[in-house]
């Protein structure tokens, strides 16, 4: 089965630094997402991306966050100035269609902000 790939698997950064988390969604998928899971808490929706623009975002996705699809294959999440509370597992996901389609998740990037 095709896979969503995420790099790096672990990222350690200092508070205030910028980080970019990278994802390669499944090639024929049209919808792309970022979710995060703080240790011991729910998987939380951050943002969805379709047709080269943000289609929906949560209240977590503030001005410190941005997403980009710089070419035909990559989908990135940038955190401009990391905070301690940004430490979490970040999951990229993609889907072929919208509402009734399953999400294909990557294995995640564990971000640790020190």
């Amino acid at each position: 089965e095709p896979e969503v790939t995420q790099t790096p698997s672990h990222q350690v950064t200092q508070m205030g630094q910028e980080v970019i988390l990278r994802c390669v969604p499944i090639s024929n998928h049209l919808y792309f997402y970022w979710y995060r899971q703080i240790l011991g808490q729910k998987v939380e929706f951050l943002v969805s991306f379709y047709n080269n623009e943000i289609s929906e975002k949560s209240e977590i996705f503030d001005d410190q966050f941005s997403v980009e699809r710089p070419d035909g294959s990559n989908f990135t999440l940038k955190i401009r100035s990391t905070k301690l509370e940004d430490s979490a597992m970040y999951f990229c996901a993609s889907s072929r269609g919208k509402n009734n389609e399953k999400l294909f998740f990557g294995s995640g990037t564990q971000l640790s902000v020190l």
């Binding site: 969503v4 939380e44 929906e56 999951f91 996901a93 399953k102 999400l103 995640g108």
Partner: protein, 114 residues
């Protein structure tokens, strides 16, 4: 808005015993219902989904779930578990229309003992 409640944070069970993981949801609109599984150090994988029709849906690895509209529940069951079923299980909902995000429950850790 939607919310998902998974009533048990951890469920220990002996191998070959039956198991039920409980999920209740609330939503002001019609939703699709999903169960995802997360094995250690991996992303989430879809176990099964309910879109419409028969309220009993069968998924991978011998799991099934029953949608109960009156009780707004979508409990996951397996008649006989294996050690390899040890994982985190997430119930999730997604609106029929008007939104891109999937709302997840807090997860239930299934621990299968020999």
């Amino acid at each position: 808005a939607q919310s998902v409640t998974q009533l048990d944070s951890q469920v220990p069970v002996f191998e070959e015993a039956p198991v039920e993981l409980r999920c209740n949801y609330s939503s002001s609109v019609s939703v699709y219902l999903f169960w995802y599984v997360q094995y250690p150090n991996q992303g989430l994988q879809l176990l099964l989904k309910y879109l419409s029709g028969s309220t009993l849906v069968k998924g991978i690895n011998g799991f099934e779930a029953e949608f109960n509209k009156s009780q707004t529940s979508f409990h996951l069951r397996k008649p006989s578990v294996h050690i390899s079923d040890t994982a985190e299980y997430f119930c999730a909902v997604r609106p029929y229309t008007g939104g891109f995000k999937t709302i997840f429950g807090a997860g239930t850790r299934l621990f299968v003992k020999a």
